[in-house]
């Protein structure tokens, strides 16, 4: 009886299927679709998420590898991010071990990139005369990728909603030309727009299906696996295998494949961290190994592509 009542309640909250207006201020997915529309109309390639586990959208080859070289590249995509140590078993209002980033990469950085970005905020319902939007200094550096850039964190009424970076170096090489990278924290932005305090209360589809219904059980189980269950012997093994395969791919002249193994090794390392089996002393050494793989792959990719790039862009050189 109780169970029946609950089912009835749940269906009552969810509206029936059928055509309805898009509303980015009430629907998480409409916010994403609006961003897709916006950046698609701006001329970006709209990609689907990369099919590998990674800690940030910046790891996506469409960002890292494409930031290298002289060719123009404009792309936008959602990338799920996995941060095992941020898991809270679904009990923290805004910390998740799996969440979404919206990533835009524009190379070369267009002169009106800030205006474009502000246009995207307007599109999802943020009126800059109603909300206080600010560009606050925040530089970015990733020793793992041999990369750094200057930019800002964008504040909306004091909340960081986007990371805005002009890449200066990637894989240890100067970016020629410089790419602009925008990373929107989608859940945060949606919580702000929808006015909810808990991520699980977000309306996912604008028809009453909540973020919690979609992801809460996932967060509980994955937190448990990340922190308690994952077999560490197997993880160490996976790390070593990814490392070996990365080197194998590098030696065989397929750096894109090598880079995938670097992404894999990086995530396995994060899992080992969450399992608490890496000591402080070992930590630095593992980070160094991941860095060698990621940076090495970027470097090899750039070196391998450089002759083609130089041919297409006379006068251009990698270093």
């Amino acid at each position: 009886m109780g169970r029946l009542a609950m089912t009835a309640d749940a269906t009552a909250a969810t509206q029936p299927l059928g055509a309805g207006p898009r509303d980015p201020s009430r629907s998480f997915q409409d916010m994403i679709l609006t961003l897709h529309d916006f950046w698609s109309q701006a001329g970006c390639v709209i990609l689907q998420p990369y099919d590998m586990r990674m800690g940030a959208g910046t790891f996506h080859p469409a960002t890292t590898l494409r930031a290298l070289g002289p060719e123009p590249w404009n792309a936008a995509f959602v990338q799920p991010c996995r941060r095992p140590t941020d898991g809270r078993y679904g009990e923290n209002p805004n910390r998740l071990q799996h969440y979404y980033q919206y990533q835009v990469i524009l190379k070369p950085s267009p002169a009106d990139i800030q205006d474009l970005y502000l246009g995207s905020l307007r599109a999802i319902g943020i009126d800059p005369l109603r909300h206080d939007i600010r560009f606050v200094e925040d530089d970015w550096e990733s020793p793992t990728l041999g990369a750094w850039g200057l930019g800002w964190e964008v504040w909306c009424d004091g909340m960081e909603v986007t990371q805005f970076t002009y890449f200066q170096q990637m894989g240890g090489f100067d970016c020629k030309p410089v790419a602009g990278e925008l990373t929107y924290g989608l859940e945060r932005l949606a919580m702000y727009i929808q006015g909810v305090d808990k991520v699980y209360d977000l309306d996912f589809n604008g028809r009453g299906t909540s973020y919690g219904e979609v992801f809460l059980e996932n967060e509980r189980q994955m937190s448990k696996w990340n922190f308690e269950v994952a077999e560490t012997g197997a993880l160490f093994d996976l790390f070593n295998k990814a490392e070996a395969e990365c080197r194998n791919a590098l030696e065989s002249g397929v750096p894109i494949a090598a880079y995938e193994q670097a992404i894999e090794a990086s995530h396995i390392f994060n899992l080992l961290q969450a399992r608490g089996v890496i000591s402080v002393q070992e930590r630095a050494s593992y980070m160094g190994r991941v860095r060698d793989l990621a940076r090495g792959s970027c470097e090899r990719y750039a070196e391998q592509m450089a002759p083609r790039w130089a041919e297409a862009y006379p006068g251009w050189s990698l270093v």
């Binding site: 002289p70 805004n94 070369p108 950085s109 267009p110 002169a111 800030q114 502000l118 009126d127 800059p128 005369l129 109603r130 909300h131 206080d132 939007i133 600010r134 560009f135 606050v136 200094e137 530089d139 850039g149 200057l150 800002w152 909306c156 009424d157 004091g158 909340m159 002009y166 200066q168 100067d174 970016c175 020629k176 030309p177 410089v178 602009g180 702000y192 305090d197 402080v280 862009y313 251009w316």
Partner: protein, 686 residues
Amino acid sequence: MADFLLELLCEEIPARMQQGARGELEKLFRRELDAAGVGSDTITVWSTPRRLALIARGLPLETKAVSEEAKGPPVGAPDQAVDGFCRKNGVTRGELETRDVKGRATYFAVINKPGQAVSDLLAAAIPAIIRDFSWPKSMRWGEASISPESLKWVRPLTGIVALLDGEIVPVVMEGMASGRETMGHRFHSSGPVTIKNADDFADALANAYVLVDHEKRAGIIRDGARKAAEAAGLNVIEDEGLVVENAGLTEWPVPLLGRFDEAFLEVPPEVIQLTARVNQKYFVCEDAEGKLANAFICTANIAASDPAVVVDGNRKVLAARLADARFFWELDQKTTLAQHAQKLERITFHEKLGTVADKVDRVAKLASWLVFDAKEPNGDHNLTRQAAELCKADLVTEMVGEFPELQGLMGGYYAEKEGLPSEVADAIRDHYKPVGQGDHVPTAPTTVAVSLADKLDNLLSFFKIDILPTGSKDPFALRRAALSCLRLVQANGLKLSLDTVVHAWDGQPRPDLASKLADFLVDRLAVQLRDEGVRHDYINASRDWDGATDMRIDRIEARARALSAFLETDDGANLLAGYKRAANILKKEAWSDDVEKPLSYTPEEAEMELAEALALANPKATDCVKYERFEDAMAALATLRSAVDRFFDNVVVNAPEQDKRAARLALLARFRNAVHRVADFSRIEG
């Protein structure tokens, strides 16, 4: 006379860099004016997050024509030299003039520089200023960045306004052309803002919601925050750094007061203030009793259509931050400080100096020794030991991990919450003190012992592995640690002999380390006392004790101070003169024998007088020095002044009779040695 306006529009400049950028802009502009020999009445520089502006008033419209002469080789010099001279000065051989220089016919080139339009000069100067501009960090951007030589700027540079007397100074660089159009506020203004001239600039921008004068914005923030707090019956906690930072983050500042959940006030006020300030740039407020209130003031950059929306958004962000802080506060208290302290084994203090746990062991041992064995300060042994063992425990707490600047303070709070004795909590909280010049110096014995032991351990540990500050490099802040040691010793009248301190620290006598430590502390003492007018050489004159280097810094200081005061008196200055005369004679004669023998002749009156005065003064001065009554010792020396003066006026030291000469030199030697017992006057310069 003309007024010049330069505005460099760009994407958001970090707030912390704006002050330096204003200075840089003015410096480079003056460099260009000076190079052209142009003067200006006043130069004003302003900044906002999106622009740097400079207004120079009273510039001429044209530079004066000048004629310069360059002296060349003499007539008859090899052709090569003459041609080289012509090339260098851009003249032909036929244009050279010949003049007589000291009877020698010499070539001169006369170079006439016609007057130049200042507008042309500025058109050339602006690109040079932009290219030479130095930022703490700069970047490339856009299409041009395909070339590594593209312009670097703090963030993309987007526009140049350059107007001399209202006329555009034409500049083309990096795909930009100068003009009279700029941008107003990012959201309150649309389309370009046209500037007529330098006078019009600030008003035209103000109409477009940009207050270009940073001081004016700072004033609005300062006053606005004060008023917002008053309206809520509170006082804003003033923070000038935050005023400047917010002025650097806004073009149209609007301070807004909001409230946060009162329940967060259970978190220590310092934590709330730091969270609000560092993460969110908010001011905080206190009530009439000086207690932190549940209010914050944020500075918006818009005149918001509904300020409540902006305030509410900011409140939510702060609430999330405070929720984190409260989470840390509660989590940290689930573990005792003693348990936290065990985790210090995992933190490396320095690769050659072991872990922080090792350091804590050394500090605890030394602090115990200070109160128990040396009794300097005289404190409770058990409390001191406990405080020292726990003093670094908060380094592994979540709160200090998040806010390193709360080290010590959090340990103090957690100790209190745990119910540890207040002396222990106070010592943990304050053991980093004194930190800066004006910082409070601890006086509670437990705190003094832990603080002093901590700093001495820093100094000795690094000295032991031969790390000493060099020049401006002092990565481990050893100079500051030394200065803090001095201030602790001074404020608490500690009488510590450094050789015994080092012995206690290392478990064995270490004269080498002790003398390194003494030299280092004396150097800091000299710097500290110099500001009070105590000369470096007076300190050098006070460094011996009982035939060896004095290992008590307090005694060196007391003696140097007494010496300084004494030498400022007439008696002191005269005695020093007499001493020098005596010392010079003895040096010249290479004389050292000071034994008093029965005289074989009838001494002169002045000679007798000095011998008698010395017989009285010497034991007295020696005695006073023994009991460290240096002023009295100096006073005893002062009684010799007239006798010494009369001796030199009336007595011939180098008498032809050998016995007379020997007796008089011995008398002078006794005088010199008596003076040396009080202080080593030979080290006094000038």
